[in-house]
Symmetry: C2
Subunit: 376 residues, 2 copies
């Protein structure tokens, strides 16, 4: 089911669909021992906390260990990392990581207020700052510092929509024209509708196991070559340098070290394009672009599916849709499909090593994973 | 600071106090690499999600990995288990687990509604069921099935308050008389004020590291002999047997197996006495009491500090106070103090092996840890 407005589908039913899809992929013999649920806002928007036990039961896994991980919109990456650590510890050998978010039942100021709880409630939320308004400040500053105009960012959204157009699970499958970008209705100047990723309901799930078991279960198991997490000040104003995503930089650096690779060896990068300025800053923080030159990649063919560093290959947050705490799991699932060569029209040729980076609260949390194809 | 109504202290300041206390205990050289935060309701009651990054920054640990774990009022146990798995994986060697909850800023029906989100929102919460009303159904059924009256449960609260009276961090330090128990104002018949644990603001923190490092850091490091988690249906009505806490039973059974011990070897048991009926059912589920005879322990000297199976040794949820997602961390801290012989007036003589069991949503989640003293 695409990310979108699923008023007819409850939170638990969204989760069920994703659990079922992952289970079918892994086969009958998989035997899940623990469930890690990523979710950001069910307590506020669906009056439901305690999703671990709820979803384990509803999806036919009553009794197993189940817990929710939350790190705002980096919850998906956080839950995946928890699952990874659990298997690595030897305490369990097969776990499922599920991301699920249902945001569209609530509209208007209540939804905006809920989304703002991912930022600092006392120093940002209570002052009326929302994620788009804070992203707008970053974008304005970026444009000022680096002497570029709004149109310079257009290519990121154009690329995301070009890829989303090919993805049946994308929220928006329309293509964007660069000239439309600067004319789009504003969300918080200069951030516009064509700049900010849309919030949607969604769920995605993935199964992790030991390398020994993986070989028996599926023909092309994907290896986790690196997993790393870091944080930054939640308050954007309190960061040493607002145009440097230090958590993204730290976690990417640790991930390269663990995997024993350089950024240049990454074949594709699923980054956290909640706003185009985050795309530019992520390319800089992860070592692909020089400081101040991330936005130049917007109009570079390198980021397209046929390029040297494809990003947002299934549409990214911008076109596939931003399903809150589920987004980080979508990134992992999409990366795994690419590395298995199962990405269909979205396939990146010869994808062997991919990176996913999930940000929470405009970079307050950053979780980076590097995955490798079996023949990498 | 005792669990209680801390209107003058914000969520982050509560957390700061606990982080500081744990850091002082471990010394300057500890070097925390990751922070696991347990919290249940900050999104709903303090408009603040994303506590990992927020608290890491506010407590002077900006940059480190930080994530929140949530499993209703079993969040504390869940976060402790995440920390344990992280260290066991080898990915990090020293982590902090922090539980923090701030519930008293919101009163009346809004707080009750928030607490009810730990149960099944669609099948319980939306029908008006709250945790106390569901506990009342369990208690009524227990009394009916086993032919006992309300007074039979009094001893659990009397014991908890007797222990809480000695604990400077307890929310209530008054002693209870057995004859007062049945006359207390009702919360949800037959559950009364003297039966249900009070909700309070609180925070507690503990540091986990490898056994090698632990020996260098503190004179009496405590060993984690077992860690296990399980779930049950969140909806109480949907459980195969409402008077059997199957998740508590499963996780305790796994914990005994991991530790290689029998229940009889446990020197003290920090159980989840949110309601006295849960105390009775926990004693049964964990293998200390025969089915239907858990309540008999209420008036047995065995559960007192001087007894053979002391429970709620610092007052338990009932008298120390139930600080939501922080409660499971309080249990671990209290157990560690007992095993180090640092429990002061609450000390259980000769405590060598202790068990903590944290329940979420009336047993929807159960997380069990067995800790051992260095000389055990």
């Amino acid at each position: 089911m695409p990310v979108g407005e699923h008023w007819e589908t409850s939170l638990r039913h969204l989760a069920f669909g994703a659990v079922q899809a992952a289970s079918e992929d892994a086969g009958d013999q998989v035997g899940i021992q623990a469930l890690y649920v990523a979710n950001m806002l069910a307590g506020q928007l669906s009056h439901q906390e305690h999703l671990g036990a709820l979803i384990a039961d509803f999806t036919g896994m009553r009794g197993i260990e189940a817990v929710r991980s939350e790190a705002a919109d980096a919850s998906g990456g956080a839950a995946f990392r928890q699952g990874y650590l659990a298997v690595a510890s030897g305490a369990v050998d097969t776990v499922m990581v599920l991301g699920v978010e249902k945001v569209t039942d609530v509209v208007g100021s209540r939804r905006v207020a809920a989304l703002s709880t991912m930022m600092d409630a006392d120093y940002e939320g209570a002052q009326g700052a929302t994620p788009p308004s804070l992203a707008a400040l970053l974008m304005q500053r970026y444009m000022h510092e680096h002497g570029i105009d709004l149109a310079a960012f257009a290519g990121f959204s154009v690329n995301a929509h070009a890829n989303g157009a090919l993805n049946p699970n994308a929220m928006y499958r329309n293509r964007l024209k660069p000239e439309g970008f600067t004319k789009a209705p504003l969300v918080a100047a200069p951030v516009s509708l064509f700049d900010a990723a849309p919030e949607g309901d969604g769920a995605a799930a993935v199964i992790l196991t030991t390398s020994e078991r993986a070989k028996d279960l599926v023909p092309k198991p994907i290896r986790i070559a690196a997993s790393a997490a870091a944080t930054d000040s939640l308050s954007v104003h309190d960061r040493a340098d607002v145009l440097f995503l230090s958590a993204a930089n730290l976690s990417a650096g640790r991930a390269y070290e663990q995997a024993g690779i350089a950024p240049q060896q990454i074949d594709l990068f699923e980054l956290h394009d909640a706003f185009t300025v985050l795309t530019a800053l992520s390319l800089e923080a992860a070592g692909f672009a020089v400081r101040g030159e991330g936005a130049k990649w917007a109009n570079d063919a390198a980021i397209s599916i046929k390029g040297t560093l494809p990003i947002s290959t299934f549409g990214g947050l911008k076109a596939r849709g931003h399903a809150g705490g589920a987004t980080g799991v979508y990134q992992i699932v999409e990366l795994a499909m690419q590395l298995r060569g199962q990405a269909g029209e979205n396939q990146v040729d010869g994808a062997r090593i991919g990176m996913a980076q999930n940000l929470g609260g405009l970079g307050g949390t950053a979780i980076t994973h590097i995955l490798e194809a079996p023949d990498a």
